[in-house]
Symmetry: D2
Subunit: 308 residues, 4 copies
């Protein structure tokens, strides 16, 4: 399918690229401001990168896309029961960084792992004795998923986010007050901001998306890297809350489990079919890559990728 | 699959039936109080009712399940653009009858068509000159979907709900103030409460679920009764917000597009496969049939029905 | 004091009048749009109108100022215990027309009688068999307070507000759902909008303010028209929530119990001293008369009128 | 008046003391749990302690009562304009420790200085180079107000509150994110928890209340210790938001500017008349001393102390 039709993919990217001028690069994290607004690249993975367009080797940070991977690891470390005792499963109509529901909901655990409060609770459940060890475990997991052992985090971005993380600190302390998070807040924020600053390229993302799409089996080895039931949980959250406050609309227009980040990345997983990695740093007002969203919508229509 | 294994289905129902004692029949609508708490029935439809258990001819009212059908009709009447200018596409973490987001969100349109505010906005878009004509069009649509021309509404339930609909009146007037709803409020509430009081049985529900599951094609005639893109929209909302505030958890545990109602009904649509109708009036604290949810979870696991 | 210094008052009004160009006349009620933005008048009452400036015979509608009078009557009709079982005593940081706290607070009674929800609950407690009788009782009460038997309501304004009262309808139905209001909603809204449309002039307002200021005693007859403890309750609400969301700032800057309305009226009561009536339809963004507020601040400073 | 009638005061205390069994001692701060639930004492100050009952030398911590004093100092240090650019003047219907309005209000400054968020913002404006210096300035101010140079803070209580201050940390970081607070959070929390742990007795409180009541003039020296306009601001906040979420009801029933703390203290200021200090650690569900409130209500009625 997609892989036999590379010229079509090239044309689609060219078309979608026209939208970048309607978006703008994230500026609330200083280190992200310098991204090239008009960049757009995509990698589609079946078994081996089957198709791509744009500079798929360009590196960018995972940001919120990392929430899917920390959730996978926390679930493998702790089991469903423990994880979902400290983070909910329900989508929310509130912004990703909202604190309100922590006060109004009882119990006060965050609604889901894709909003910041929930992701912080999830990251605090990653096992390990030190930030280095825990981050190392997450990186090892990502190396395994991608087959790319060179993946690490961007120190400058991590530092920049750590220093401007006061809203996340507020979320952490609020949850500490209610017993949802028990560890030292600065330790957690250091781990969390490093996790968000992990750098990948489109090909890496496509490979991870592929594993999640294909029941957790590694593309080349066919070895299970993520247990089947966890791979399903990840796809479910990607559908119900993967695209910030536009998740519902994206599910209708595109219908593919996907997770975006403010760096402009999108990772998508078409169940039993392909993994997709996109990089397009021009964002719409909800924080999603404008051109990336458009590209996925066109792809979904042409190749009938919707799960619905 | 399911259809070749009727004994298994019977055993599953027997098992799930044990849960009814943990639920309770809805009592906020007077006419629903008299339901038999321990009832549980299921119909599975492929082409012809392929399997069933319990008294699948017992009638119950659609209640919130009707929101899926009024949405289908409103979309056919008005097109996506018009409909989604007056109701959003995003799931919400707030209760189904909450009014808060109407005040805090800008613009103040309801977040999605499955919460009461959104469903009222949708019903107000059903074309027709009078309540009778508009309700008649909805019933005709349901007759077509089910092949059952005897389906009508329960006057006693409709009257009872109309008389106790003050919270829905509050929602309607709030939306009138903001121009989301333009028609007379009592006309709308009459239509809406009659829509909620439409009476079906499990077999009817299974047949409607089947059409939605199968790209809008009628099971017997293979004629398109619902346009493909609308059938997809329906399934999407059933996943992201079909089971009240337990939609996220249901998507993870079961993974089947489904819509519940406080009468105890659940309609489910496994894409490209089967439609399911369940009746089990013992509800959990979120308003979903306890035994019905359990039955769907067991079915999903045994026959691998999850879309994720 | 003020009364011996009429020239000073005239100069103060002239100065304050310069602020009207920074305000704008209320436009959300059609019948109010035609007011003269630059009008400004004040009457100060001790025993006999002791001082005034501007056209103090110009009539305007009470709007929210009426909430003080309906509260007085409801308290005389029902007693404190009954009234405060259906409306709270606490100020709120939410807008006067907000519905949110009705959903989030438990029990769901409105926070105080000066926000719309609370005022509607209060008006529903005015005794009488029909709208005419109940409105008649309120008018008789006002005739008694002012000695002006010609005071009535403006039919055009009442009609205009009744027709655009959908937000108030939403509040009423929400409270009916929770048992806070028990009467027919249209009856209540007819009474409430007529109450808001009662027409007075500055002199009338000053006289009413005087009675409230002076322990409920009629200025001329020294007869108790309002029981002492009720006069105190009125002043308390005027301080804690009389000036919409600017009540706290007004208490600090001016320190006089006062109630404003969107018609541009302000009624003020300096305990044991004077009553003041002001009309200045140019409003600030919070709904208070810009020039009227300024005039009261200057008066308070010059004559040391603050209760604090 | 009160001072000539000590026997009456003694009887009032005896009566009010019967209410302590309906309250409970604060337990969310470990160091407060050991207070004697049935203690009740009062000091009334005119010029010299004119009347008292109970053990008026027993020491307790100021807790929220300190918010009035830090506000006075911050206003003297920075002026009104600066202070009210970082904290509002409006009462709120939300709990004293709520974070919601910081997210929903724009700009996100806290609504008033009596809720925790506002008090933290105020304390951050106290001038000085170190915690020691700033706390020292606050203590010196209190020594001046009371004439009692032995007043200091309770280290155990301060430490205990500092260690359990995660909710306050959340408030601080949320405000840092929005530029309302600019200093180091732990520095601020150390200062704030020490401020809350300042220990006084009823007589001290009565003397401070007296200064605030009497235009900021020191009782003995008649020297201005607090500028007049600041003394008025303090009384205003004591009326509109001094008694947590019961401020409105207290203003109606008692009508005296007052501020309570969870240690069971209440400081009251009857304008131009007396200062009152009360200690009664049995609290009602809103955090106010049950017996203390009752005592003030009886006093207000008997001696006509209401400002309304």
């Amino acid at each position: 399918m997609i892989c036999n039709d590379r010229e079509t993919l090239r044309v689609m990217v060219e078309e979608a690229n026209k939208l970048t001028k309607h978006g703008k690069v994230a500026d609330y994290i200083p280190a992200l401001k310098t991204a090239d607004r008009d960049a757009l690249s995509i990698a589609v993975y079946e078994e081996g990168t089957c198709a791509s367009a744009g500079d798929i080797q360009e590196k960018f940070t995972l940001q919120s896309i990392s929430k899917v991977l920390s959730l996978a690891l926390a679930l493998m470390d702790n089991g469903e029961e423990e994880v979902f005792s400290r983070v909910g499963m329900e989508p929310t109509g509130d912004p990703f960084n909202s604190i309100i529901k922590l006060e109004t909901h009882s119990p006060s655990k965050p609604l889901n792992p894709m909003i910041n409060a929930g992701a912080l609770s999830v990251t605090s459940m990653i096992h390990g004795g030190s930030v280095e060890e825990r981050l190392g475990r997450l990186l090892t997991f990502i190396h395994e998923l991608t087959g790319n052992p060179s993946i690490s985090y961007n120190e400058e971005v991590a530092k920049s986010e750590y220093e401007t993380a006061d809203l996340n600190r507020a979320l952490v302390y609020f949850m500490k007050q209610h017993g949802v998070i028990n560890e030292n807040s600065e330790t957690l924020l250091e781990l969390y901001t490093k996790q968000c600053a992990i750098e990948v390229n489109c090909e890496d993302l496509a490979k991870i998306g592929y594993v999640i799409a294909n029941e957790g089996l590694h593309a080349e080895s066919q070895r299970p890297v993520i247990p089947l039931h966890i791979a399903r949980i990840l796809k479910t959250f990607m559908v119900t809350c993967g695209m910030y406050n536009a998740s519902g609309e994206f599910a209708i227009r595109v219908g593919i489990p996907a997770k975006s980040g403010v760096s402009g990345g999108i990772m998508a997983s078409v169940p039993h079919r392909v993994g997709i990695g996109i990089y397009g740093p021009a964002l719409d007002e909800k924080g999603n890559s404008v051109a990336g969203m458009q590209l996925l919508e066109v792809l979904s229509q042409r190749y009938d990728l919707s799960i619905f």
